[in-house]
């Protein structure tokens, strides 16, 4: 793993994301219990676990969609535990959603433009963007990067599922992301689209770390260098992909346990 070590040395020490004892209650039900995770800048990690293990709740706590009930969350050293979601996003955190959360009444181009506008100034601007607006160009580039140029003037409601998943990723790449949370980006994709997804993930700039929730081990283990296993809202095991794959407990619980 020399290349990984090299890559990580480029982005410096310190934690990109640091969770300490994060717990999230829904009424009396603990969806997350005492979760402690440290992710270095530029690190790419998979979170595995069966349905209900707390993976998406973990994402929701990190982004603030649902605030943590207790514990602290630090993003590049800054305590963001009590920040509203938009403040966390403006600091370089991004996420995608398991079920596409797009603006179905707007065009592809407008969706991506909003993503670019959200992390820059002028969100309340009453002036229409000009032809040479930097953010319009940034949006064009992103639309092209996820292979949606041909449909960029179509309304999102008219897109095929695979195209919506690609747009979902484009929204998370806008601006200057420092860390991205991908929630099952391969859900419902064809084998060919999965390859494109892997290509997009592996070609992200080195300084951008991410956590990916993915049931498809072929996708997940090809794009990460570390794995966290979750079970019943707790961290169950952490390690390298090959360690996790060969771990008998994990195999019993997840891989060989008749899952899916």
């Amino acid at each position: 793993m020399d290349s990984v070590a090299q890559r990580l040395s480029l982005v410096g020490a310190g934690a990109a994301l640091e969770l300490r004892g994060v717990t999230r209650m829904f009424g009396a039900l603990a969806a997350l219990t005492d979760v402690t995770i440290t992710v270095r800048p530029g690190e790419r990690r998979a979170v595995l676990g069966s349905n209900g293990a707390g993976k998406t709740t973990l994402f929701n706590c990190i982004t603030g969609d649902f605030p943590a009930s207790s514990g602290t969350i630090r993003f590049f050293g800054e305590d963001i535990t009590h920040f509203p979601p938009y403040e966390r996003i403006r600091r370089g955190l991004r996420r995608t959603y398991q079920i596409s959360a797009l603006f179905t009444g707007l065009t592809v181009q407008d969706n991506v433009y909003l993503a670019c506008r959200g992390v820059s100034r002028g969100r309340f601007s009453l002036l229409r963007p000009r032809q040479n607006d930097a953010l319009v160009h940034a949006a064009d580039t992103l639309v092209q990067a996820v292979h949606l140029s041909a449909v960029k003037d179509q309304r999102v409601a008219e897109l095929a599922h695979g195209q919506q998943r690609q747009l979902e990723i484009a929204l998370a790449l806008a601006g200057a992301p420092r860390f991205i949370l991908f929630d099952e980006p391969a859900a419902g994709l064809s084998p060919g689209e999965r390859l494109e997804l892997i290509e997009i993930l592996t070609s992200l700039p080195a300084h951008i770390g991410y956590i990916i929730i993915e049931h498809d081990m072929d996708v997940a283990l090809r794009v990460v260098e570390s794995v966290t296993m979750m079970h019943n809202g707790r961290i169950f095991k952490e390690g390298l992909p090959r360690e996790i794959e060969s771990d008998p407990e994990v195999q019993e619980l997840y891989l060989g346990g008749g899952h899916e």
Partner: protein, 359 residues
């Protein structure tokens, strides 16, 4: 953007050849829009005084107030029933700060001072109401704004110090300068037309500006907007502020039109009229509220005589409006505009959607 570094393999159209998407005014190439504009401009030549004020100026005023609801509901997904209340508040403030028959209440300021103050206060009032309403969604927004409307109606009824109770404010002075009486029929028509046009184009323009696009994003998916860095509630409150200003303009015109304002002008049924106007016309495009207002005013004006001739109560015109409302909602969720576009596209080759505000 050197963020994603791989080359696009599947690319049907070169991005260099395609200009960035900045849509221009769709109306410029639309002959029907030009025809309507010309007819509106020469209206004083072709319409009687009755039609000019009672039909067209009234339509444009109600349309402007309904436009503020269309902006909130169509772009922001927020159904506010207090838009007429904000307009009425502006009207009251014109009477209170300006000149009216109630000399012990009115401060007697000149119109050019009273009107901006009235607009500013109405905007503040609507923004405050909006700040309360944005904490809720859907039916609760409707309930809160309806409650504000009802509370204001009863308050004006019972407060004599400022609102002069159930008699309201009479003989409200209207602007007179440059030797022109701006409430005389023809000048007033142009004042109303100019204001309505300004509001219409402002809404159209803003719908494609970052603020308006973001508002449509909030409508479609507020949670995702927050996950893109937008402060969703701040956006909603700002939308209320803009809509309140538009409604306030409509209210100022309305009090100049009738030269009086009373609790009856701000009743709950009036608030609901605005909702009906916007929904009947269509809330996806800025032109919808004006179409809805024209239908409403025509029905209100002419079915009265018609029904009386049939020996029915003239107030039954509401029954007709209600039936029309039901029919339109039943056949087109997009009001009269939706019906019209459906009819236009029937038989024609399928067009690329995405025209206008949000397509």
């Amino acid at each position: 953007m050197s963020l994603v570094t791989h080359d696009a393999k599947v690319q049907l159209r070169s991005p260099a050849a395609a200009p960035p998407t900045v849509r221009m005014w769709p109306e410029i190439n639309n002959p029907a829009a030009w025809a309507v504009a010309v007819i509106l401009l020469i209206m004083p030549l072709i319409a009687s005084k009755f039609f000019l004020i009672e039909i067209f100026a009234t339509t444009l005023i109600l349309g402007t107030i309904a436009l503020s609801l269309m902006f909130l509901a169509g772009y922001g997904g927020m159904v506010s029933l207090m838009q007429l209340t904000i307009a009425g508040f502006a009207g009251y403030m014109v009477a209170v700060f300006g000149v009216s028959g109630n000399v012990n209440i009115s401060l007697g300021w000149p119109w050019w001072l009273a009107t901006p103050v009235a607009l500013a206060l109405a905007t503040a009032f609507g923004t405050l109401g909006g700040a309360l309403a944005v904490r809720t969604e859907g039916i609760y927004t409707i309930m809160i704004t309806l409650a504000i409307g009802a509370a204001f109606y009863y308050f004006t009824n019972q407060n004599w110090a400022i609102f002069n109770g159930h008699t309201g404010m009479n003989n409200v002075a209207t602007p007179m300068f440059w030797g022109v009486d701006w409430r005389a029929d023809i000048p007033f028509y142009y004042v109303v037309l100019g204001t309505a046009a300004l509001c219409y184009f402002a809404v159209e323009y803003i719908s494609r500006a970052p603020f308006g696009l973001a508002l449509q994003g909030v409508r479609d998916n507020p949670r995702r907007m927050a996950a893109l860095g937008f402060n969703v509630n701040a956006h909603r409150v700002a939308a209320y502020a803009f809509a309140s200003f538009v409604a306030g303009l409509g209210g100022v015109l309305q009090v100049w039109n009738y030269r009086q304002i009373s609790p009856g002008s701000v009743g709950v049924e009036r608030c609901i009229d605005i909702l009906i106007i916007a929904v009947v016309g269509g809330i996806t495009r800025a032109v919808g509220p004006f179409i809805g207002a024209l239908i409403f005013v025509l029905l209100r004006t002419f079915t009265l005589d018609f029904l009386v001739q049939l020996g029915l109560d003239g107030n039954r015109f509401r029954l007709l409006i209600g039936l029309g409302f039901l029919a339109i909602v039943f056949w087109s969720s997009d009001g009269v505009i939706g019906l019209w576009e459906h009819w236009r596209q029937r038989g024609a080759t399928p067009r690329q959607t995405g025209r206008g505000g949000h397509g």
